[in-house]
C-alpha cells in the first residue's frame, strides 16, 4: 500500500476511533469471541500485531474477514477498546483499494430464495467494494 507501518496504524486508529496502545492484552476479547477459535488472528492477537507494527501481517490475514460484528469483544473490554471497529478499519483499507472479498455475482441462486436479505446487504456492506 506504499505506506509505512506507522502511517497505516495511525490511519486504522483514525478510521476506528480506537487507540491501539490502550490494549493491555488481557485476552477477554478473544475469549468471548464466538468465532475466536476459527479466527486467525483472534482479536487480542490482531491488536498485538498492530502494537508491534506488523500491520501488513494483519491486513493479509483472514481473521479480519471473519468478524460478524457481534460486539462481544468491545463490550467486555476493560480498557474500552472496540476490536470490531479496528477490524472494520482494516477491511476498509483493503476495500478502498477496490478489492472485494465477497462478490455479489457469486451468490448461489438457491441462497437468494432462502437467506434473509439483511444478510446479503450486511455482507456486501462489510466485505465488498
Amino acid at each position: 500500500m506504499n505506506r509505512t507501518p506507522e502511517e497505516l496504524v495511525r490511519e486504522i486508529e483514525t478510521l476506528s476511533g480506537q487507540r491501539i496502545a490502550d490494549c493491555y492484552q488481557c485476552g477477554c476479547c478473544s475469549a468471548g469471541c464466538p468465532i475466536g477459535t476459527a479466527m486467525e488472528p483472534p482479536p487480542s492477537k490482531a491488536i498485538r500485531l498492530l502494537q508491534l507494527g506488523r500491520v501488513e501481517e494483519l491486513l493479509q490475514s483472514e481473521g479480519i474477514w471473519l468478524c460478524a460484528s457481534c460486539l462481544v469483544c468491545g463490550t467486555r473490554c476493560p480498557r474500552g477498546v472496540d476490536y470490531a471497529r479496528i477490524a472494520e478499519a482494516c477491511r476498509l483499507l483493503i476495500l478502498r483499494t477496490k478489492r472485494s472479498v465477497v462478490d455479489p455475482d457469486c451468490v448461489v441462486p438457491a441462497d437468494l430464495e432462502d437467506v434473509p436479505q439483511q444478510a446479503f446487504i450486511a455482507s456486501f456492506r462489510k466485505f465488498s467494494v
Binding site: 462481544v72 463490550t75 472496540d82 476498509l92 437467506v115 434473509p116 439483511q118 444478510a119 446487504i121 466485505f127
Partner: protein, 290 residues
Amino acid sequence: MRYLYYPGCTLYSKAKNLDRCARRAAERVGITLEELPSWNCCGAIFNTGSDDIAGQVGPVRVLAKASQLGDRLVTLCAACYNVLKRAGARLNIPGNELERQRVLEFVEEKMERDVRVVHYLEVLKEDIGWEGVRRRVSKPLNGLKVACYYGCLMVRPKEVLSFDDPENPMVMDELVAELGGEPVRFDFKAECCGGYLVVNRREVAQECSMRVVENARSWGAELIVTTCPLCQYNLEMAQKSVGARRNLPVLPVLYFTQLLGLALGLPEEELGFEDNKLNPVDFLKEKGLL
C-alpha cells in the same frame, strides 16, 4: 395508541410471519402500528468507519422521515433497531455537527426532532405493561419451556442500545412468563448466531448457531424464540444441516410475535408457521397449544 412503525426489508418477504403476527397481536393489545410512508432500507448493519458518511444516509433518511410524523419509531427486526438507534446516536455526538449537516444534505429530508427508536418489546413492557398483556392472554402457554434468544444486535453496544442488560437481557423472558410459558435459564441468549457470515462462511455461522441451540437444549428448552430474521434463519438452517447430520433432535425456533399471537388467541392461519423452516405445528399440537 398509535405508533409509527418501520418494518424493514426482510419483513415484507422472508420474515412476513414476524411482521404479520406483530400487527395482529398489536391490535389485540390495543396498539395501532402505522407504517412509515416511503421508508427505505436501514442498511442492515451499522458502518463504523469514522469517515464513512455514505453508510449513514439510509438510516438517517428513515429517521428524518419519521421525525416529520412523530417522535418515536417502532421496529421489530433486531438489525433495524440496532442500525437506526446507532445512526441517530452518531448524528448527535457532540463535535459531530459537520457530519450531521453533510449527512442531512445528502438525505434531503428535514430532521424535525429527535426520534426515539423503540423495539416492539419495549412498547409491550413500558406502554401496555405486563398486566395489560396478561389480561388479553386467552391461550396460556401451559408452562412451555422457552429459551429467549436475543442475539447481538438488541443489546450491543450497550452505551447506545440501552435496551436491556448486554449479558443477560430479560425483556423477552418476562413476556414469555406473562404468556404462561416458562423462560428457561439460557447462558447463550446474547451469543452471536454467526449473522451475515452465513453468506460467505456458512460453516462458521452454522457452528455459532449450533452452539446457541445446544446451549438452549441443555438448559431444558423445548422451543427458542427470536426477534431477528437472520438469527431465526441461522438457528433453523444450522439444525437442518449440521444438527441433522449429527442426529440431534429438532428444537423449533419461533418469532416471539408468533408465540405472542398464539397466546393471544390468533387463529392458526394468521401465525405463519408454514414459513418456518422447521415446522412447529406438530410440536405445538402435542403440547396442546394448537
